[in-house]
């Protein structure tokens, strides 16, 4: 057995250097999911002290550091009204305050989890991510690429837009993973309808977005339910998810239109 290393860089640059040095290093964000995995970790690069735990306003919108925790999103004054507060709504019921104090924006996006509430919400708000090597790109593009475990996600950017938005999800118990989650948003001639936890990852539904722009909530619901893919997992079956999609997209789009 090789000796295991636990490293705590003091900046993003230092973290990137450590990752370059240790090709098999594993980044620790919140650590909640790294811990759940059973893989053996020889070198851990923990970003806790890297200064990435912030939510701030920039000239072009908002910036969420990779180490911003869900609890920070929930309590940040900048996010209470941004997009009708859906970034608060989408995380505020996840497990409990304890877990939200450790789970991070970076870990969630990098993990590309199908169930993720945050991914669904951020997709609806045209978020962009910044990677240390690959640079800045739309979140959707990032999710479509294969994860490069040596790159470092440093921040998420939200455009300076006034979104009308709605968050809808359905859980079995109040703080369970979503059986389905939906975010809808509209700003001028831009509309977004994103459905996640299908159980596959959040995806946009352009047909539903067109219906939303046309002011047709029921149409958006119908088309989202009929065009998106739904599957089974331990939480629910695909047929139910389809029905749920109809309801939640109708509610989300109606709220945006209201």
């Amino acid at each position: 057995m090789t000796k295991q290393l636990y490293l705590k860089p003091r900046s993003a640059a230092e973290a990137a250097a450590l990752l370059a040095e240790h090709r098999r290093a594993v980044i620790i964000g919140g650590g909640a999911y790294v811990r759940l995995g059973s893989r053996r970790i020889d070198v851990a690069v923990d970003l806790y002290d890297a200064g990435l735990d912030y939510v701030r306003r920039t000239p072009n919108g908002l910036e969420l550091g990779a180490m911003a925790t869900f609890r920070m999103l929930e309590t940040a004054p900048e996010l209470q009204d941004y997009a009708d507060g859906i970034l608060v709504r989408c995380v505020e019921r996840i497990v409990g305050v304890q877990v939200r104090n450790i789970t991070t924006v970076g870990g969630t996006l990098f993990g590309r989890y199908g169930f993720s509430n945050l991914i669904t919400a951020l997709l609806a708000l045209d978020a962009e991510v910044a990677l240390h090597h690959a640079g800045r790109m739309p979140l959707g593009d990032f999710l479509a690429t294969k994860p490069d475990s040596c790159d470092l996600l440093t921040a998420v950017f939200l455009p300076d837009q006034v979104w009308r938005a709605s968050w809808q999800d359905m859980t079995r118990t109040v703080n369970d993973y979503a059986v389905l989650n939906v975010a809808a948003a509209r700003c001028g001639d831009q509309a977004r309808v994103v459905v996640g936890a299908r159980p596959g990852r959040g995806v946009r539904c352009p047909e539903a977005e067109a219906a939303l722009l046309a002011g047709d909530a029921d149409g958006a619901a119908e088309v989202a339910a009929s065009t998106l893919e739904f599957g089974n997992d331990v939480r629910a079956g695909g047929d139910y998810r389809r029905e749920l999609c109809r309801t939640l997209v109708a509610r989300a789009t109606a709220e945006v239109l209201a």
Binding site: R172, T173, V174, V179, Y240
Partner: protein
Amino acid sequence: MNEVGKSLPKIDGVGLALGRPAYTDDLAPRPALVVRALRSPHAFARLKSIDTAAAEAIDGVACVLTWRDVPRVAVTRAGQGHPEPSPRDRFILDEYVRHVGDEVAVVAADSEAAAVAALAALVVDYEVLEPVLDFEQAEDHATVLHSEPEIHENFPIGFEPTRNIASAYAMHVGDVDKVVQDAEVVLRRTYYTQAQQHVALEPMVCATWLDLHGRLNVLTSTQTPWHVRRIMARALEMPVGEIRVNKPRIGGGFGGKQMIHGELLCGLVTRRTGKAARMVYSRREVFAATNTRHPMRMDITLAADRGGHLRAIDMQALSDTGAYGEHALTVFMVAGAKTLPLYNKVEAVRFGGKTVYTNRVPGGAFRGYGAIQGNYALESALAELAHELDLDPVELRRMNMIAEGETSPIFAIMGEGTEGVAMTIDSCKLPACIDRGMELIGWGEKYPRREAGPEKVRGVGMALAMQGSGIPGIDMAAATLKLNDFGSFNLLIGATDLGTGSDTILAQIAAETLSVSTDLIKVYSSDTDRTPFDTGAYASSTTYVSGHAVRTAAQKMRAALLTEGAAMLGCAEKDAVFDGAEVRGPDGAISLEDLSTRLLYSQNQKQLCTTGSHLCEKSPPPYLAAFAEVEVDLGTGKVDLIDFVAVVDCGQAINPNLARVQVEGGLAQGIGMALTEEVRYGKRGTLLTGDMMTYRIPARQDIPRLTVELAASHEPSGPFGAKSVGEIGIDTPPAAIANAVFNAVGVRVRDLPLTAEKVLMALREGRAK
């Protein structure tokens, strides 16, 4: 009464809040070998070979055990009295593994890391066999789970392992078929209940070591120290007297810790190595390798006249005991025995069926113990009958339910595993419970439904329940009181406090009997070496049975104090009185403090020590009337609980706060079973709900409101009028909530849990029709 009937704080509450060492893992000796089990990835397999060489070669590994290294003695891990009504169908380790999670081998090492490495180094060659996963196909399936020649039943329980039948049972009173044939109304329904997991927040934990004398000491998170000792002795082939079992505080049990878990493995490791050992189940192991509630199919037939008078009930059940037959027969019987007597006016009643083996996590004891399964079926069917007859479901219950001074022939016919004991009901406050419950929920205004906003409908539903108080003729408990100098007492009890507060209420009973304050009673419990016997904490027995023993011990102590006090005062015993503070005679008094101190140090020196023991003679049922209000979301099918009202007749509550919390806690678990909790398996028998992220117990917001009241009641046969209260809370939520959902949206889901998915799909089907 001064001490009984008071909501005294639980005696261990503050210490536990402070985080003081109290639970098994807090107190287990260190250093100790870390014991870990290799668990089967297959639902059914034969272990063709296990190569342990690599594991044994790892630094720090103290021993590796496989089925070839353990005594070949058939046992049951059920943790019941002797001889057990469950089949002895298990070995410490066996050549076959019968469910995903079953134990393949055991390693013990100096460190966690070495133990994990050793597990990974074991090379097992499995011959994977075709599993039985559907309990409705299990009987006479081509696959037979148990063909070991050593396994057996202790007395006839219908055990037919070659047919995958763990137990069978049938009873009847009157001619059900004939009554059904003649009846004006007949309702036939089938209901399914699911496997539920206890999810006590403390997992199974035990530690073993050899003491100075070479005796095996066992510290374990158990509900049944004496059964653990007896079964360990049998399995490890050692005399009972060479084992000491001690239960410290436990972090919840709910029946899950009636069974024996790591004790056999850990004990064997200590026997083999001579070293202290410690086994802590991970949460995944708790899910995969302990026990669940037995899932059941219940076929119910009700016969009645148009006016709603029940004439016959037929309940035929099929129960799934998983890979091993723990509590197979007894849980099954309770499904009928603790539900059918509620409606004692029928002309005929029949109950029967089988418990079968499947390659799933074994069934076991779980609060409610069959009664919750039976209750869900019977109380749902009654609601369906009321609906057909266009009767208020409350009226239907009132017309048919048992009353004070009445009996049911079922009491004599059905016990737990054996025949029962005839009894007359001396306390039954159901009428008052129902009236009060209706008032608290607002039945008059709310039944059956109200609109509650766009796409939201609220409905109310109800159910009644009964349980028992101990197992008559079987449950036995004892208590010893010892007088200390300066007037305090040690109360030594076998009873097992699982966090229910029984140490506190038993102290209250002793204090009340002695007329002293409860803080003078110093409780020490559940230690097979140092306290008297108790069958354990199950079957709702502690207050009723152990409470009696304590009361007897205290009465004897009271008499002894009078004798000794009178002697010191130089008066006749009949002229002396004891008021808790002093023994007073015609010409003077001596304080308890003084008397006790003199007795040990200076005058008539002796130790006063009294013991009471009690055998449970009858099992008076507590009763409960439950009313649920739910809100159903028509767009998602989600059922939100708005309020759950339960009014309980548990006799005189010894400690009303603790009694109420017992009910509230039971309700919450029953609500979990009703709505979200479900053990689920994949196609090949893998567990899909093996952690707390997939198996969901209710969180705080899921249970916004529970309204529990205790009805004024007094059970003449109970200590200070008490009956039991530990289990009954769990019984009603499945039926009451199912009935409320039906009343709200007209959807009748007959298989638990009532997930949003089932409700919505049923709603959509209804609309499509």
